[in-house]
């Protein structure tokens, strides 16, 4: 018997969200007294990454490498994960609640006729069965859920677990990918997109802006601050500025955007509508800057400055640069 963790990769490198999934899976495997198996699918160059999966707690690694897997292949991945789960008596199968994980996990759950808990923030065992905590209504409530069927399928919210090393010598076995490389849906990466910053849902620090910034041009101040803070900082936006076309929807935080839980969240010129607060109130530390001292955002902020964001931001950028120098 086993717990399976899908080790998501991109461009031949195992993603940070996958290591967090392994950490969640390691804890669950220990609680159930079974081994943790990482499933790694992608291009052949990934062979160099298997050691990393052992370092983060995998007892075994099942690899499925093919040139046809240079990009995500929904149908093939579904079959390979489902077969791996069946052949290894999986009690649970974990995915990262990432773009790929959220596409793959439901397909695999349907294939295995199993229940799926999405975006879980906690996973454990109670009375011999797998239980999990997950947000609903964009985090306005949380639910503790228990599985009534096996395997328990889970997608783990990015940043809910901190990737922790648990080194061991993982045995590597190959999956038979022969019959699974033909697919009706073909995926290719969009061209001309340079990924400079982490996604808002996965960033260590989120620098978010709202209407209070005045114009879309002022976003260069948020970019400068994110640059000064370092590589782990991503950009976020309120619904108002996304609806106004100032920022892409991928940056929206809140109920019709992304729900985020970074260790540090900056809200600049964001008043704090219910739907926005629901999307960020589980952040570790919240800093709010707003000229309206009565803005609801201050009710959830750990630290606040009442003032014009356009005056506060340049000073903050300077101070952070000094600190980092």
């Amino acid at each position: 018997m086993s717990v399976l963790a899908f080790a998501e990769q991109r461009g031949g490198v195992v993603r940070g969200a996958a290591l967090e999934t392994l950490t969640a899976g390691r804890g669950l495997a220990d609680a159930l007294g079974v081994e943790l198996i990482a499933v790694l699918l992608g291009p052949p160059a990934l062979a160099a990454e298997t050691g990393k999966l052992g370092s983060y707690g995998a007892d075994r690694v099942l690899t499925g490498f093919s040139d046809a897997f240079a990009e995500y292949s929904p149908e093939a991945y579904t079959e390979l994960v489902a077969k791996a789960a069946q052949e290894n008596g999986a009690k649970a199968v974990l995915f990262a609640a990432s773009a790929q994980g959220k596409d793959l996990a439901p397909r695999a759950a349907a294939r295995l006729e199993a229940g799926l808990a999405s975006d879980v923030t906690e996973v454990g065992v109670a009375d011999g069965r797998v239980v999990a905590v997950r947000p609903a209504y964009a985090g306005k409530v949380f639910m503790r859920v228990g599985f009534t069927a096996e395997p328990a399928m889970l997608s783990v919210r990015p940043r809910a677990y901190k990737a922790a090393e648990a080194p061991r010598e993982a045995r590597v076995d190959e999956l038979d990918v022969g019959g699974e490389t033909a697919a009706r849906a073909k995926v290719r990466a969009a061209e001309g997109e340079a990924k400079e910053r982490p996604d808002v849902a996965e960033a260590e620090i989120v620098v978010a802006g709202g209407r209070g910034l005045g114009t879309p041009e002022n976003w260069k101040l948020l970019e400068e601050l994110a640059d000064a803070l370092g590589g782990g900082a991503g950009l976020g936006a309120s619904r108002a500025v996304v609806d106004a076309g100032w920022r892409p929807h991928g940056e929206q935080v809140g109920q019709t955007g992304k729900v985020v839980a970074p260790p540090l969240y900056f809200a600049f010129g964001i008043s704090g509508a219910i739907q926005h607060l629901a999307g960020m109130q589980t952040a570790g530390c919240i800093v709010a800057v707003n000229k309206d001292a009565e803005a609801p955002i201050f009710k959830v902020a750990d630290y606040g400055i009442v003032g014009d964001v356009l005056e506060v931001l340049p000073r903050l950028i300077d101070e952070i640069k000094k600190l980092r120098a």
């Binding site: 793959l104 439901p106 009710k299 506060v312 903050l316």
Partner: protein
């Protein structure tokens, strides 16, 4: 082009939602229910595709109770041709609901099945991909741009820090993300017409749940912190607190 759009009735995103007294559900008293915002993009896209093709039909479908008729009527008022109410309760996880929808879709003619990427109540983000799997359809989820050229589909989907493009031949399934289009508002004429459009009722029965809710919890209450000061002069003190007190930078 024949299109089926699956929709859901959900509380408006501005609603206050809290756990109910039973501790196993949410209190929806006084809450305004709407057509799930992501489903509006799906309905709009279906209408645009039908208009571009010059013929075809748009059928909206939901699994729910009597009250879901109002949601179907909203989609009919936007311009959908007919509606199907599968009478029964959705499951806690997505699979039971997906099974009911897949069963109902299987018996119908269609080129494309459209969904919103997720319902903003349970936030499962599961049902569209599950229906695709159950029906053996190619699919793309979280789609921000859709091109349909004859039978060939190119769907742009959002991934971390960028996009990827999923290509397949119809029939297939698409789950819509915000940004796909600007949903139209139902016109007064549309609202009047919607009352006369066909709404089929099917006894689907309750969907099977493979998850059970043990407890509904309110999120941890965050207490307001401190106002460090006013204006740019407060910045050095803020930075000191972030470094020494909160230890986050």
């Amino acid at each position: 082009m024949k299109i089926i759009v699956c929709v859901k009735r959900v509380p408006d995103s501005e609603s206050r939602i809290a756990k109910a007294k039973d501790g196993l559900s949410v209190d929806t008293q006084g809450v305004k229910f709407v057509l799930n915002p992501y489903d509006e993009y799906a309905v709009e896209e279906a209408l645009k595709l039908k208009e571009a093709a010059g013929d075809g039909s748009v059928t909206v479908m939901t699994l729910g109770g009597e009250e879901s008729k109002e949601t179907l009527r909203t989609a009919l008022a936007m311009g959908a041709d007919d509606a199907v109410l599968l009478k029964g309760q959705p499951s806690v996880d997505g699979l039971g609901t997906a099974e009911k929808l897949a069963e109902a879709i299987k018996g119908r003619e269609y080129d494309l099945v459209l969904f919103g990427k997720q319902a903003i109540d349970d936030d499962n983000l599961q049902v569209p991909a599950m229906v695709a799997q159950l029906l053996g359809l190619p699919c793309a989820t979280v789609v921000t741009e859709l091109k349909v050229d004859g039978g060939a589909v190119a769907a742009t989907r959002e991934v971390e820090g960028g996009h990827e493009i999923v290509e397949f031949e119809l029939p297939g399934l698409i789950a819509a993300q915000k940004g796909l289009n600007e949903p139209r508002y139902p016109s007064l004429k549309g609202i009047m017409q919607a009352k006369k459009k066909p709404l089929e009722e099917v006894d689907a029965g309750d969907a099977e749940s493979r998850l059970e809710i043990i407890e509904v919890m309110n999120p941890p209450v965050r207490s307001a912190g401190q106002i460090v000061g006013e204006g740019a002069d407060a910045v050095p003190e803020l930075v000191r607190k972030l470094r020494d007190e909160a230890k986050v930078i």
